[in-house]
């Protein structure tokens, strides 16, 4: 446990020293979400309709952008190798890294979403559901994305390949996440969608770290 916290703390310290990297995902989210109204037109009814989908796709793309750097830096300077031969179980260290990644690339999206949602004229209830859905969904993206990041470690064409690999796996999160906000707006209640998101989260917390660890060991061979 202390090893997990040590990794978490270390990754956060590195991010604090290198602030520019951390803001990439957030920046991208803001830009993508702000471009859509410019491209589609300012009519509020239409914007309200597309808001859940647009915001979720923006969050998805922003997360994909940030996935590459989950293991790449540690792989390049040799610290990942040290983690693989450390007495602490690698799976724990991987969980620490995924948690750090989510805190830096996922949580800011959750916090930023209400602000962006206002651009689309969403009401307070919808904004609340959006935040909750992103809170449940973005960790799933980090967890599942970690598998892709581990598989493509050090591979040529890594970024595009990574996106191709994780895109199909992200689809359920997108569907349930955007669906939650849409059903709330339609008056049907977001409960069902949010429970499904929670189920996905539970599933990924149990399985994704193991798959990512196995993929890392293969990449380090």
């Amino acid at each position: 446990m202390s090893a997990i916290l040590a990794v978490l703390q270390r990754d956060l310290m590195v991010v604090v020293r290198r602030k520019s990297e951390a803001l990439t995902a957030l920046f991208f989210f803001v830009i993508v979400s702000s471009l859509f109204p410019l491209g589609i037109g300012p009519e509020p009814g239409l914007l309200r309709k597309i808001a859940p989908g647009v915001l979720w796709v923006g969050a998805l793309l922003a997360t994909m952008l940030a996935l590459q750097r989950m293991f790449a830096a540690d792989h390049a300077d040799g610290t990942l190798e040290q983690m693989a031969i450390s007495p602490s179980p690698l799976v724990g260290l991987v969980i620490g890294k995924i948690a750090a990644h989510w805190l830096v690339s996922g949580l800011p999206l959750v916090l930023m979403a209400p602000v962006l949602g206002l651009q689309f004229d969403l009401d307070a209830g919808a904004l609340g559901v959006l935040m909750l859905a992103l809170l449940l969904g973005t960790p799933v993206l980090s967890l599942v994305g970690a598998i892709g990041a581990a598989l493509t470690l050090g591979v040529r064409g890594g970024g595009v390949l990574l996106s191709l690999l994780v895109l199909p796996l992200f689809v359920p999160v997108l569907i349930f996440g955007a669906g939650a906000v849409e059903s709330h707006i339609a008056g049907l209640g977001a409960g069902g969608h949010l429970s499904l998101l929670a189920a996905l989260l539970a599933l990924s917390v149990f399985f994704a770290p193991w798959a990512a660890t196995a993929a890392l060991r293969i990449a380090l061979e």
Binding site: L161, L165, E182, S183, L200, A214, I218
Partner: protein, 253 residues
């Protein structure tokens, strides 16, 4: 009993499997042609004209079998890859690698035939119904597998990484299918669905089954041919490959 087992395991080495595969390939081609002829005859001549959709519906005799095969091949491919990973067996991983392009082809054909069905029926080339969308995602899963293996230079690492990806995909396919079905029923704007197929006459079902068997035999034949090529490529440094007539290079005197 154990002697029988060791006899089977003998074929787990590329060197012994290569000639065995070579002998099996023509058998499967013959079966494929037989089933294909039977299936097409049933589909195009025996099955009755549909009341609502006319003759155009007959494309389901290609569309449905290719969908079935695309999903079946993914499962088999993941199974071979898992075996290669857990038993550290090179040949099993080569089988998975050999199956992937055929599976991708099936998914691609399924999407195309779906489009060709949709156009005359409902006037659009693409319809976001649950099954077609899931098929599209399955196609991307195949592409991801092929791309990952192609980008990793070390063959053993490519085998193992592909196996992890295939297993993650297998777990996710039901989840993806469920989520897409959910999404589709929620957005009931487009009420057209390729699932609303004509009520099945027995002859239609037979036609589809025969075509499915045809595609199955075809896939095995093609996969075996491809795995032989993969074996030659990956074992090119071994003595037995260098001795094969097909790899002997003529040296100008």
């Amino acid at each position: 009993m154990s002697k029988q087992l060791t006899n089977w395991f003998r074929f787990a080495s590329p060197q012994t499997f290569y000639p065995l595969a070579g002998k099996m390939i023509p058998v499967f081609w013959v079966l494929a042609v037989l089933f294909g002829v039977a299936g097409l005859w049933m589909g195009f001549f025996v099955a009755p004209t549909d009341a609502t959709q006319g003759e155009g519906y007959r494309i389901i005799f290609v569309h449905v079998p290719t969908s079935w095969m695309s999903m079946f091949i993914y499962l088999v491919m993941a199974g071979w890859a898992a075996m290669g990973l857990s038993l550290n067996a090179r040949l099993s991983s080569m089988m998975a690698q050999a199956l992937a392009p055929t599976g991708a082809l099936m998914a691609f054909l399924s999407l195309w035939t779906g489009a060709f069905w949709g156009k005359p029926m409902w006037g659009t080339w693409w319809v976001w119904d649950a099954r077609l969308t899931s098929e599209l995602i399955l196609f991307f899963l195949y592409l991801g597998f092929i791309a990952l293996q192609a980008s990793i230079e070390d063959p053993r690492r490519a085998d193992k990484a592909g196996a992890i990806l295939a297993l993650v995909g297998v777990v996710n396919v039901p989840i993806i299918y469920f989520s897409v079905t959910w999404w589709n029923t929620l957005h009931q704007g487009a009420s057209v669905s390729i699932n609303k197929s004509p009520s099945m006459a027995m002859t239609m079902l037979w036609g589809m089954l025969l075509m499915a068997l045809c595609l199955w035999m075809y896939s095995i034949a093609v996969a075996l041919t491809r795995v032989r090529a993969i074996i030659l490529e990956r074992e090119s440094h071994t003595e037995w490959v260098k001795q094969l007539p097909e790899t002997k290079v003529e040296v100008a005197a």
